[in-house]
Amino acid sequence: MELNEFIKNVADQFDETDASEITATTAFHNLDEYSSLIALSIMSMVDDEYDVQLKGDDMRGAVTVEDLFNIVKSKI
């Protein structure tokens, strides 16, 4: 599992946010477009791409995209 690919997969879940705005250090909860629906899209992507089931606490606990990457990586 590779960080840049994960960042791209996360960015794909956003419609209006430019992909360049989403990097490893982005605090994704603070993005204007972030919502509970985007959270579900990210969880769904993680399930599809990595076969990992994130918990609500995982999503709430991760600050940056890289934090989320590390959580997913630890569950593979």
Binding site: S36, M43, M59
Partner: protein, 352 residues
Amino acid sequence: MSYLNIKKVAIRGVSVCVPREIEEEIESPTFESKKAAADFIASTGIERHRIAPKGVTASDLGVAAAEKLIADLGWDKSTIDCLLFATQTPDYILPATSCIMQDRLGLSNECYTLDISLGCSGWVYGMSVVCSLISANGFRRGILICGDTLSRTNSRRDKTSWPLFSDATSVTAVEFDENAKEIYFNFGTDGSGWKAIYIPEGGYRNLFNERSLDYEQIDPGVCKNKLHGIMDGMDVFSFSISRAPKSLKKLAEYYSLDLQNTDYLLLHQANRIIDDKIASKLKIDLNKVPYSLKDFGNTSGASIPMTMVNNIREGLSTRHLKLVGCGFGVGLSWGSVYFETDKICCPNLIEY
């Protein structure tokens, strides 16, 4: 390995009873604005839900649905040897509501009765029990009553749960039949996720106490007391989109079924996002996945029979159908079932 293969049991009929009172989500004071209500409808697919009047329980709806189905089947009540009630909203903490229902329905004193405490997976589990009992070759006929009044377990001031759930109770009638097609099941449980959906107080871990009824503002639009259900929507989502399709795939693989070859996939009606995702993971044509969500929301364990009565009643009454279903939720608990029906008795939706 949690598979069951039931022989010599035929499904003869299914009925559902709902209360008359309808709440339209778009007008619901539970949402802070029309926009919030519209967003809820767009994402969940739920436009309205039913609320049982004060004092009416899931068993009241169940008795009405059972009386109608038994009458339409023309069954002599003395031939019904078992009654099961799958619910999380029983009449009393004790006795088991199925005992009370035996009397109310006028069934024999030699009737076997049992309550099953499960929610969204309750119909699939209940079917596995009633079918196993009949298949054991002693009981002639059985009825599974399955449903809830979740309006009693959710706060009207909780926009994340109140609009989702709808009250309904279903009845499914089964009978011993040497020539019946086999019924297949797959089951699973993940108790580590029990806190994804639970009611904190009022049981025997945390007794009802003088603070149980105090409302607490948890988030904007989410205000509830300790007898109301708590749900972690993200946990439920993640669990559902993973476990449900896996269970259906396991069932298909183990019994060499082609899911594409069934007439309908009957999913527990969780919400539109979850169910669409499950169907797409299974690559099943959406025309084969009926939804009763729009008018009846999430009807807990009654949701699979609810969809049968609401969406495919004509097919059930007039044709032979191959059906596959999956219930998943509180527990966390899930189960999948493959069954066939042949011109079964399926009365119009009953209103209480």
